[in-house]
Each structure stands twice: as structure tokens, then as C-alpha cells.
Symmetry: C2
Subunit: 341 residues, 2 copies
Amino acid sequence: MNTEHLFLKALNGAKVDRPPVWLMRQAGRYLPEYMVLKEKYDFFTRIRTPELATEITLQPIDIIQPDAAILFSDILVIPEAMGLEVQMINGKGPYLPETIKSQEDVDKLKVKNVEHDLEYVYDAIQLTKNELNNRVPLIGFAGAPFTIFCYMVEGQGSKTFHKAKTLCFSNPDIAKSLLDKITNVTIAYLKRKIENGVDAIQVFDSWSGLLSYADFMEFAFPYLKKIHDALADQVPVILFPKGSDYALRDIASIKPAGIGIDWTITPEDARDLTHGITLQGNMDPSKLFMSTHKIEKEVKEMIDRFGIQNYIVNLGHGMLPTIPVDSVKAFVNAVKSYEKL
Amino acid sequence: MNTEHLFLKALNGAKVDRPPVWLMRQAGRYLPEYMVLKEKYDFFTRIRTPELATEITLQPIDIIQPDAAILFSDILVIPEAMGLEVQMINGKGPYLPETIKSQEDVDKLKVKNVEHDLEYVYDAIQLTKNELNNRVPLIGFAGAPFTIFCYMVEGQGSKTFHKAKTLCFSNPDIAKSLLDKITNVTIAYLKRKIENGVDAIQVFDSWSGLLSYADFMEFAFPYLKKIHDALADQVPVILFPKGSDYALRDIASIKPAGIGIDWTITPEDARDLTHGITLQGNMDPSKLFMSTHKIEKEVKEMIDRFGIQNYIVNLGHGMLPTIPVDSVKAFVNAVKSYEKL
């Protein structure tokens, strides 16, 4: 691992001259080069073919030149490896025809498949690391157990995930046995990713913000902590419990290398609650529709407020498909020329 | 106005023996009696026929017996009165075929129609007040300007409302002229509601939580405040900027009679930020899928933590269509028998 990389320095708390920058979903639909591959190959082919996953991961590295790469993949490879079919419906998102309703359903789930069924992910990591040739570090990721649980119980995206939450509230024992199982599989999966070469891990708890503080502490926090603690001696781990600002103090108590935040918390409040831990975020992706000049101003203000040290510039959520490539370049370049602004 | 009603006493800061209770979307699809009317009459017929709107408003008063009624209507009557067609697509929600894209589009909007086009709302209020016969007070409501703006620019529901936010960020002058226009129309509309007999007003900013603090203070807060200040000397006004917990201190500075909150903030934190203002909320509606016994326990704990005074028991979001009626009754009854629990 080359600890001279700006991204890893920021995660290790080392002094830097400017913060590193990358963007969540930097590989994806806003890039015409990605759309060419999307038209040729369906979602699962893109994910499962190491050469394609590698090419897609590298596209933004060449085009927008951020300080980290993130492996092109999907959080739902985990439910799939556990034996639930995952379909991807165009314009609608993921759909799982069979969902978890009972302890019996939980007991039937497979826990060993991440070793071999997800070999294509590990191959993609090795290939990507080769192709990157140490230009920037490679991030591996997984969904947090509560977020994966949401999809496995609800069967699809939802504004409320009330079926998933209802299982938590009505049958906490079943819910926790499922969360435990997801957690163990995710740890095994992320360990294999690390063995195959990723330099850092990000855990996305995309739906934890739908929980109250008490419910977050019961159904999300313990599993995030368990994953973190299983990996933290190997690579830096970034936890991103989106929208769970109410729990930032608790997240900080885990002492992860990094914490992701979105734009619904100010830099000042986030710093107050996290005691020097490296923060990552937090511009509203909708701001990338502004003029280049305004984007540069926004980036400068964001770095001014977070500070240069212990900070990774990013969005507070994934890229939107219609964001202009030039705006993304302006975002990245504004970070790189921060001192000159 | 009968200030002896528990709901109005709580809003006026008077001492009560137990907190009042009502539920957002207490008139609606979870009631079999509503479904009978839904099958017979389409959405706009239900909204626009005073006899039907009255019947639907009264259904929960008879069946679950909360301490306040809220007029059955929709926040999108405002864009419609301003000249934008609103369609309601089953299972998908609202759709506005023509959206606002330019200053020209804003300038073409009508501002006088709330006086006559929405006469059916005022008739429904009078009829409902008659039928209620002073059993409980009647709440009138409107969408907050930012939320109405979201639909007028986006044209439909969205997880991100990025088109709407992009108009704010890229063309703040156009956005503000639209927000001003919506605000003025909404004030005229709510004044007419008050003239026709509603006892209190609730303003729903359902999407303000998608904004950062700075953007909330620019694109949501001033318009909420303007509506509040235009009405507060006539009836109590409840402001519900859902998910904008980061701005609770500022909302409290307006000194509204009530502030709505959802379950992503604890009672203690909400109390700390709002200096004795009556709070309304905040149970996760998904908790109404728990057993009756657990619901009662949850309600008791909620009242214990908020306190009996300056508090209105409610959910943190609207009722879900699949919640059992008996669970809603258990929720209401748990509040009514609070001292005995």
C-alpha cells in the first residue's frame, strides 16, 4: 500500500497540502464512455465481467482524474450470494422476487458463497489494481447490514421501507438474526476484497436515516461497528450512515478512519460531533448543475469550512446521470487548485 | 372558536390533563369506509365535492376519535389554481404535464384564482364545521412554498427533486419569484380557509429536508415565516418542515403555535432547540404495525419523554394505507388513558 497517496494520507490523519477528492458514483451514467458499454452489456454482465468492471472503474480516473478509484460493483451482490435472486429493472431499480418474511427464510440463506460465487469481484479488483498501476488507491465497498436488510425484506426500493422496519419493530429477534447473518457474510466478503488488493473500504448505510436514534442504535449501529472492528487493522474504513446525523457522536466513538456525511449537516456541526475524525462529503449533487464558476465558489467555501486536514472532498450522495462531465471536472479541479482560488 | 378543546389548549400553551392526539392522513386508505368512496369516486371528485370531502374528513372522527379533524384535501390544489394541470396517477402519485422552467412560465401563473376556483374547499369547511358540531376543532392545511415549488418545477414526486433544486441553485432569482408567488397565493388561500371556519392551520414542508441548512434558510425559511406571520394573529399555526431538524432553532424563532417533527429527532433534542413551543409528533408510522401492547408502550414512553404540556401526540409522517384500524385505535386510546398506563 502506497501511503503517499493523498486519499490514504487524509484517512490516516497525515498532513496534506490539499484535501483529496473523489465522487460517489464517479463511474456511471453521466459519462458517455460508460453509456457505450451500458448499451452493449446488461447490468449483471457489466458487474460480473472483470474486464468490463475494470474498464468502467478506470473511466473516471482517466477522464475526471479524482484521487481515488472505487470498484464498479453493486451492494446487492451480497443478497444474491446468500441465495436471493436480484433482478435489475430498467428505470425502476432492483427487484427481489423472494423476500425474507420468517426465521425459516433467514435460516435457509447461504453464508459460504462469498468465497467462490463472488470470485468475479476479486478478479476485477486484481485487474483494476494492475491497470491503475498505483496512480490512485482503490476503494472497495459494501452496503451496511441494515441497508441490505431493507432490500432483502422489502424486495425493492422504497421511500419508507416500512415492511423492513416493521420486521425490526414486530420481530426484533428474526430481524437481528438476519442482520447478524448479513454482517458475517459482509465481513467475509470485505476481507476477501482486502486480500485481493483494495486499499480502503467504504460501508454505505444508505437507508439508516429512516430510523430514529433509538432504532438506529438497535438495528444499524452494532452491525456497522462489528464490520468496522473486523477490518480496521487491515485497511482504513469509511462509514457512511446517510442521514443519521443524530448518531454522529456514536459513529465517531467507533473511531473509523473516515465518516461520510451528506449536506443536511453543516461542516461546523459535523466537526463538533466527530472530534477530529476525517470527514468525507458533503456537497448536494444538485449543485453540480450550477455554472462552473459557482461550483468553484462552492468547493472553495466547503474546504474553507471543513479545513484542509482530515477531510476528503466528495458529494453527499451519488452522482446524478444528467450532470455535465465538464461540471464534474470543474469540481475536481477546484479542489486540486484550492490554494490558488 | 372553542378554546376548551384540548388540541387548541395545547397550541395556546394552556395546561392540560393529557396531550391531545390526531394522526396525519387519519382520513384515508387504511379505513375500509374510505375505500368504499375511493372505489366509487375518483380523486378529484372526492376533493372537489364538499359532501364527499366532509364525509371523508369525519370518518376518522367517528371511528378512531382523535382530538382534531383535518380537512380532506390536497396540497396541489394551489398549483392547479395557479393554472398548472395536476393529474393523479394511480399508484404513482401526482403528475404535472407542464412544469415551470423560466421567468416567463412564472409570469404566466394566475394569482387570483384562489378566491373563486377553490370555492369547493371553503364550502367543504363550512359543511364539515356544521357536521362536526363542535366535537373537535378543524385543521386546514397547505403545502409550504418550497414543497409546492418542488412539484411545480419537477412535475412529479422524486427522491431528490434535483430539477427543482437546480432551479434554486442556478437561477435563484427565478426560483424566488416563483416562491414569492406561491407564498402570496397560499396566504390568500389560507385566509379564506380561516374566514370559512378552520380553527388552526398546518403548513407541510414535506421536502424541505432535502435542503442543506444554508439552502433551507434561503429557499424555504423566509416563505414559511411569511405565511406564519400573515396568519398567526387569527388562528394557531403549526409549521412542519419535515426532516429539517438542523433548522429547528430558527423555526422556533418564528414563535409558531406548534412545530411538527418526525422520529429522526429525539424528544429531548427537539425540546432543547425549541424553548417551550408546543411540539407535535413524532412516532414512526411503521411502528403502528407492532402489537397493540407494544404500541401502548411506545405511546407512553413518547409522552413521558415529551411531557404532557405543550405537546400534541401524532405520527412523524402520514398514515400508511396498510396499517390496521385497531392499531390506530390503540394509539389514540393509549393517549387518552395516559395517566392510567
